[in-house]
Chain length 410, copies 2
């Protein structure tokens, strides 16, 4: 029992009563349990459901060892669970029953919050796509002709999505610089990050159906942080014509807390003005509420802030990504994860990848320890965090996704 | 009970005693069970394990509702299971116990044989890649500079892999012909097939490890047939720079029977001579047995044979694909599926996709009913089957993957 009353969480706490993100935790190497972050504690959601005598169906969803059962249950169940959990934490009458279900956050191990079904990565930042175009195709149009007509995306490797804190081993593979005649094999020399948001799909859909823009919120459960690690040298040699593969598939890091969409009500903003006419299935001009999100990311390298990417600058919204991803009839499963692609804003220090921050390595970052970085070195620690507006001027937290780069096995 | 003795299966039966592929079946809408195809029957593997008093561990693997548990158990368990099943079917002493476990094949419903973890699709046919290069980049080198150095691959959508027989709904999406100023929305006008082999991964590996060429058979359980349906118009507009996405993700059809690698001993052949020096992790010059496979595919459109693609012509082997897929430390899970990409041989009638058979629609196929086909029409039925050499000159079967094209929902 901690000295401070665990129920005494102010509204402007990063994990205050208006946030209530879900995760999966364990203590002492025990079984995995669903948890809700609250102040400096984690609520054992299943135990609280039992202690408060919650309805059997809800209790069943909260007693699961991952979020997938709750994800599959759909928005009415998500709303009910969120209301119940909020009541357990804030209504004094529940304190005696719920108190024993609160575990100090620094005593838990956090795990992947859900079993990832399919993982899709988009490319939704105009600034990011334009910067890469300028770096790799100087003299040409920065954006490819399709970019303003559809949110470009591709499938990544679901089996190598790992939770924050898992070390990331520098990948080996084929690298070929433009001035080399043949590729060589070895550890990546251009290991990079991509600071992204991830959207967690709940309610599934059958094969052959589509999700309309205005129905996106019936299927998107919530939001987490993603670091889409990228080996730029592997990627640039392999990616023509079928896209990124080994340059990405070695690891994708996920934050342990999934913030429900219902906590993001005050973060909704209009997306940037569109300068290209959209086909009706992507035209969100009349869709309310808007699906832009005012979420402020921060990227730290060895503790030093190197970028503050604004998600509000993203051209494509999560609703457009989902509508596009299903327009061909592709089915959704509970646990599908789609990420935004690198979040980059218009300013130099708002870019969410080293390749942009250092302009392909030509302008290394100066770190406070006197060293410079074009790309990541072994031992580097990268941490991405984010906050968003809650009610009454508060700022709530998405938590963070962090990892240390390790050298490859010999 | 059928009139013919179900144990009376000649060695040269397509599903004879040297084949013994695994699948998942049900009868009368009942529970899913593991089965082994034998002649015109399906052996209920779990029931046979119980009836013969098989060891508890083996029985547990065979009583599962999908192949995944057996896949995860690894090669020693695969070998033991295969030997036991062969004994049950061929040793007269087992007939009384096993007879009731044989179900006529035409009385069962077949399901996806395993839960697909990650799905990767390669591009391993030099003839296919060269043909597409000639079609789309006339006057340039047909192959991209990386093609002979690594097996190009990308991740597909695992959640839309469906079993043979599932109708394939024509996908909608964005299409833009080169002479059109802007894209339009609608059903794909260039729906195609890709005749491929799929390799089913069994024994998993941890993150950060690699599978060497000579260890591939410790991880690959078996082989099935894949139809990687492709909407060429959606694909050509979307795929730069991140690769195929909606042009593929609407459906990928899988044959119901997975033929164990141990049944393919007599199909092993040297792959085509390599004319480009390979990095050591891909150099299979000294690896025995060779990982080329003499498997003869056949593609039928509305019952009419339109192509006979030879898998023996594939440049990259399954062992090279697996070594490449894991060289960056990507983990494997039981149920991972990697496909070869379109199987095309050097002859016109050995090409495994309509885009090659009709040279991008310019040379339509003439069908016996007097109609022509550039790409698929609604109602078309596509069936891919394959055979391979067994012992003593027999030919064994991979079965088939078939589906009918349906119009999109309004």
């Amino acid at each position: 029992m901690s000295a401070v009353n665990p129920f005494d969480v102010p509204q402007d706490s990063p994990f205050g009563p208006d946030n209530l993100p879900y995760g999966v935790f364990s203590t002492g190497g025990g079984a995995r349990r669903l948890g809700v972050a609250y102040g400096d504690h984690v609520l054992d959601a299943g135990a609280a459901a039992r202690a408060t005598g919650a309805a059997g169906e809800l209790a069943g969803l909260l007693e699961a060892p991952s979020l997938n059962a709750l994800l599959a249950a759909g928005r009415p169940a998500w709303r009910q669970a969120r209301a119940e959990v909020a009541g357990w934490l804030t209504e004094p009458g529940h304190r005696a029953a719920v108190g024993p279900c609160l575990v100090p956050r620094d005593e838990v191990a956090l795990h992947l919050p859900f079993e990832v079904a399919d993982y899709v990565d988009f490319y939704a930042s105009e600034h990011h796509a334009s910067n890469l175009g300028r770096i790799f195709r100087p003299g040409s149009e920065p954006l490819t002709p399709n970019w303003k007509h559809l949110p470009i995306g591709y499938h990544g490797r679901a089996g190598t999505v790992v939770v924050s804190g898992t070390p990331v081993v520098r990948p080996c593979g084929q690298r070929k610089a433009p001035d080399e005649a043949v590729p060589s094999y070895g550890p990546s020399r251009r290991l990079d990050i991509e600071a992204e948001l991830g959207f967690v799909v709940g309610a599934p859909t059958p094969l052959g159906s589509r999700v309309a823009l205005q129905d996106a919120d019936r299927h998107v459960f919530g939001v987490c942080l993603v670091n889409d690690w990228s080996a730029r040298d592997l990627q640039s040699w392999e990616y023509v014509p079928l896209g990124p593969f080994l340059g990405k598939s070695f690891a994708t890091s996920l934050s342990p807390w999934v913030v429900p969409l219902d906590a993001l009500t005050h973060a909704r903003v209009e997306p940037p003005a569109r300068d290209t006419e959209l086909l009706p299935y992507l035209d969100d001009g009349g869709v309310r509420p808007p699906a832009g999100l005012d979420i402020a990311l921060e990227v730290r390298l060895n503790g030093h802030v190197v970028a503050r990417p604004p998600f509000s600058a993203m051209y494509w919204t999560y609703a457009q990504m989902l509508a596009h991803m299903t327009v061909n009839g592709a089915a959704l499963r509970a646990g599908d994860l789609f990420a935004s692609g690198t979040v980059s804003g218009p300013e130099r220090d708002s870019r969410g990848a080293l390749i942009e921050l250092t302009w392909n390595g030509r302008e290394p970052l100066a770190l406070p320890d006197g060293t410079g970085r074009s790309f990541l070195e072994d031992g580097d620690e990268v941490t991405i965090s984010a906050t968003f507006p809650g009610p009454s001027g508060t700022r709530l937290s998405l938590g963070e996704v962090t990892a240390v780069v390790q050298p490859p096995a010999p």
